[in-house]
């Protein structure tokens, strides 16, 4: 157990075994609040190491420590925010003054408020690997070099290793507000990733693979290189595929991206502001009955697992779609007030320089009763397109209108098995229609980096544009 927090209201105690010095800084700044104003202080500190190997040598090695503060001030229902990439005493004062000044310019809004403890107990999740700090840099370098060497030797068709990276980091943070929030947490992470280029004749194809964990141990070079190599090699000889309206199987990585996109439309803020195609549809059938979608950051296996949200409330399990029926949305404090509901403990923020907003951390589909793995889904679909990677998701998927059009590469599915490779094709539909057309949900859940699980997903009736 490494993450602790206690609400002042509940216990009057201070945070436990979190980073005490950060809590003290946050306490100190919150203590400068004037009467009539509420102040929330978010303090973070991180360490990171990044190593890139190339050609049997270290191409670059980065080591760094950074720290910063983000302050929100609410006065008369007006919000102001300021941040700084430093924890120096004078910087703290200047940042608070700036946030306070910014607040005076905002439009008063009765829904603007800071979170207050809601009595929901946090589920502890252990995200700290004590061993990471003791791993010498030389071992990390060895791992990066070994990763590159392994990828180069994995298959005679690998003609280049574009990058072989090792990365790790630790983040500690404290959150204190004058409205009674006191939370602190810490988290470590480890990563290896490799990108290869396979060649045969004039044709080249690329593939990437990675392995992630909470620390150094457990990072799996076999898995990273195996994945990268098969993805590149099986695309060799790919041609522009055929056009038509067919069933598309998204592999686990592509499916993670797909769920992440859908999550934008499940934001309570987007819904309240008329920016979601789900607005006004609670209780309606928005997807095939095979679809049950849950965001559960209390699942310790999830990459985005957390005990507390970005406003210091306990993270909790939220059912969003149950057997195809839309159940609810994700809220932070302000979006919840705007919608007349309570926060779902779903505030997220991009570090000390960002302000909180509602978002997913650990979205997953409940596996279908058949218990399919990837092969099982392919067999069930029999004929269609298997997509192993998508491009242009940011330019071709619109979570407001629901329009969906992405570039794709993968393999055709024939007789329930992977067949010839295809590239330079697009796959299109609308998110609304895709949810209604889900054919199979794999049980092969894998927690990939990001806010959603990876699991093989088959969607029917999609327009593929190729030759």
């Amino acid at each position: 157990m490494s993450t602790t927090t206690e609400s002042k209201d509940a216990t009057g105690a201070t945070a436990g075994d979190g980073p005490d010095d950060l809590v003290s800084i946050a306490d100190r700044v919150a203590g400068w609040a004037r009467s009539g104003e509420d102040v929330e202080v978010y303090v973070a500190r991180g360490d990171e190491t990044e190593i890139r190997a190339y050609g049997g040598e270290v191409e670059s090695l980065t080591s760094a420590t950074s720290a910063g503060i983000g302050i929100r001030v609410v006065v008369d229902h007006r919000l102001g925010f300021a941040w700084a990439g430093s924890l120096d005493g004078t910087v703290l004062e200047e940042t608070l003054a700036e946030a306070r000044d910014n607040a005076t310019f905002a439009t008063p809004d009765e829904h603007v408020q800071l979170a207050v403890p809601d009595g929901v107990a946090a589920v502890p999740v252990d995200l700290w690997d004590e061993g990471l700090a003791t791993v010498p840099t030389t071992r990390k370098v060895e791992l990066a070099l070994a990763l590159e060497a392994q990828a180069r030797a994995a298959d005679p068709r690998i003609r280049q290793v574009d990058h072989a990276d090792y990365g790790d980091g630790s983040v500690e943070l404290a959150l204190v507000s004058t409205t009674g929030i006191r939370a602190s947490s810490r988290k470590t992470s480890g990563y290896i990733g490799v990108g290869v280029i396979a060649g045969e004749g004039d044709a080249s194809q690329t593939g990437g693979g990675f392995s992630v964990g909470r620390g150094f141990d457990g990072l799996d070079p076999d898995r990273a290189t195996g994945d990268a190599v098969i993805r590149a090699v099986r695309l060799l000889g790919a041609t522009k595929g055929p056009s038509g309206r067919i069933t598309v199987v998204f592999d686990r990585r592509a499916a993670t991206t797909l769920l992440s996109v859908v999550s934008a439309a499940l934001s309570g803020e987007a819904v309240a502001k008329g920016r979601s195609f789900f607005a006004g549809r609670i209780g309606e059938l928005v997807g095939d009955p095979v679809l049950t979608l849950v965001d559960d950051p209390t699942d310790p296996r999830a990459y985005g697992a957390a005990a507390y949200d970005a406003e210091g409330l306990a993270c909790r399990r939220n059912v969003l779609i149950d057997a195809g029926v839309l159940q609810g949305f994700l809220y932070d404090t302000v979006a919840a007030s705007r919608s007349g509901v309570s926060s779902t403990g779903s505030a997220v923020r991009g570090g000390f320089s960002g302000t909180p907003g509602p978002g997913c951390r650990a979205l997953a589909l409940t596996p279908g009763s058949e218990g399919y793995d990837e092969d099982g889904v392919l067999a069930a679909v029999a004929e269609g397109l298997f997509v192993q990677s998508m491009t242009g998701v940011h330019s071709g998927v619109n979570p407001i209108s629901g329009d969906f059009s992405v570039g794709a590469e993968g393999l055709m599915i024939r007789g329930g098995k992977l067949a010839e490779p295809v590239r330079e094709i697009t796959v299109a539909s609308t998110l609304q229609r895709m949810l209604q057309s889900v054919v199979a949900v794999g049980a092969d859940v894998e927690w990939l980096p990001g806010i959603a699980a990876g699991q093989t997903l088959a969607v029917g009736d999609m327009q593929v544009s190729g030759v």
Binding site: E59, S60, L61, T62, S63, A64, T65, S66, A67, L79, G80, F81, A82, W83, A84, S86, V91, E94, E98, D101, N102, A103, F105, A106, D109, V112, T137, Q160, D162, I197, S204, Q205, T206, K240, S243, R245, K273, G274, R275, F277, T355, T391, G392, H394, S395, G396, I400, S401, D403, S405, V406, G407, E424, I425, T426, A428, S429, T430, Q463, S465
Partner: protein, 466 residues
């Protein structure tokens, strides 16, 4: 920010254990933004960040460390950390002399604010946002949501390296954007427009926020009656200034020397060869006016320059940063950029654009019997190794019988860079630039893209219509 004698001692420390190049990049950056949403000024945000990144190059290896502590002690500690990878040799003490060299590009060398670059007041920003909100909402009753943002950054950088370079620059950037949602019988549609320049609030002497908001609103409204985009290959006419993102993706990234030296680009080894239609002359130019990708010196202290990449269809050169240029025994083309002092520099584009042609834009449409007219592009993405790329439309129409007819829903277009560049059969005179944010290997930098109205004889359009 840091005195020369301190820089000299830090560079010496960085090379104390060996290594053949050391560099200090110091940055002091402040940002401010105001956001109006749902009819309210929801959030004003200010940020400040300062620090230095120190790198030491030893053979093929780069050591890098960064710190927010700009005191001599802090810098020496970072130099020590950065030099760790060079510590294979026997040590010894290197003596490094730093002499002040003003950037040839005419950058601001002083510590004062750049001339003619005023940072607007918060009240001014709010007034602009309110005007934009009102203009967007008055465009049509179906406009149901408006979000407008006004943001600026000021960045003071100092670069010193062991080759004696010392350069400073002051960069001010301002961006204004409007996103609209229109609601109709067919659901929701969106429209977006932005303006961004390497300027202070002088941006608003050049643009009208009302016009910009009206454009975003009309874009959303027009799509309420849009039909699904076609699926399959069709001729495509890109409007002037619709987003030279096509060239950014189709070949710009593939011409970055870091991909070239790793043989990870379809354009490796093709200098001197015909890689595009003779109508294509493509340049990358970091010196153009106040465009979004403009600066005086790059993040390695090199003056911005204009590089001709493709001349009448023939590939003439790649884009270079210090490391990749050194490897090839040449000088950087001023394309070494980084997001912040916490990042290593790499090869990046600045303003990348197709020089205008000689045809009339309307005539190009009139001579297209059937196809798609793209009035505005969104983002794109490329795999430099295969050359396959996509780019998205945010305002497009059918062309039927040489006339622009029905609006189309958003879709991505997909193509292969080297193939698409050969399919350009018409380029007009109506040149325009578009600002964008380019992401590469986890770092974002401001860039400009530009082209005149042009036609591609065939591109695969990823719509849903059969």
């Amino acid at each position: 920010m840091i005195d020369s004698p301190v820089l000299e001692r830090v560079l010496s420390e960085a090379l104390r254990h060996g290594g053949d190049f050391a560099e200090v990049f110091a940055e002091d950056r402040s940002t401010s933004s105001a956001m109006l949403d749902d009819g309210r000024v929801e959030e004003l945000s200010s940020g400040r960040e300062r620090g230095a990144g120190i790198r030491v190059v030893s053979g093929e290896t780069t050591g890098f460390a960064h710190t927010a502590d700009l005191s001599e002690v802090g810098l020496l500690r970072a130099a020590e950390a950065a030099s760790a990878v060079a510590r294979s040799g026997g040590g010894g003490t290197a003596s490094v002399a730093v002499s002040l060299t003003a950037p040839a590009g005419g950058g601001d060398t002083g510590d004062g604010p750049p001339e003619g670059r005023s940072l607007g007041s918060k009240a001014e920003a709010l007034e602009l946002l309110r005007r934009a909100d009102e203009a967007a909402r008055s465009t049509g009753d179906s406009i149901t949501q408006v979000q407008a943002g006004c943001g600026g950054s000021r960045r003071q950088v100092l670069i010193a390296n062991s080759e004696g370079l010392l350069a400073r620059d002051q960069q001010a950037r301002t961006r204004f954007s409007v996103s609209c949602v229109a609601t109709g019988d067919t659901g929701l549609q969106t429209g977006f427009e932005s303006a961004a320049r390497t300027l202070g609030f002088e941006l608003f002497d050049e643009i009208s926020v009302e016009e910009l908001a009206g454009l975003a609103a009309r874009r959303a409204l027009s799509k309420l009656s849009a039909r699904p985009a076609p699926s399959g290959e069709l001729p495509v006419v890109l409007a002037g200034g619709s987003g030279g993102i096509l060239f950014h993706e189709a070949c710009g990234h593939g011409l970055e020397a870091d991909h070239i030296v790793k043989d990870a680009s379809v354009y490796t080894g093709m200098v001197g060869q015909q890689v595009a239609s003779p109508l294509v002359t493509l340049v990358d130019d970091g010196t153009v006016g106040s465009e979004w990708g403009t600066f005086a010196v790059d993040d390695e202290g090199r003056p911005a320059q204009c590089t001709v990449l493709i001349d009448h269809g023939v590939l003439t050169d790649y884009l270079w940063d210090y490391l990749r240029a050194r490897k090839e025994g040449r000088v950087s083309s001023g394309n070494g950029r980084r997001q912040t002092y916490q990042h290593l520099p790499m090869v990046r584009m600045t303003n990348t654009f197709l020089l205008p042609g000689e045809e009339d834009a309307d005539e190009i449409v009139a001579q297209t019997p059937r196809g798609v007219y793209v009035a505005k592009l969104g983002g794109g993405q490329v795999n430099t190794t295969t050359g396959d790329f996509v780019f998205g439309t945010t305002e497009a129409y059918l062309i039927e019988g040489g006339r622009i007819t029905e609006p189309l829903r958003d879709a991505n277009l997909i193509g292969n860079g080297p193939e698409i560049l050969k399919r350009i059969d018409a380029v007009a005179t109506d040149f325009g630039m578009t600002p964008g944010t380019c992401g590469k290997d986890g770092q974002s930098v401001p860039v400009g893209c530009g082209q005149a109205t042009m036609r591609l004889t065939g591109v695969t359009i990823g719509g849903t219509a059969e």
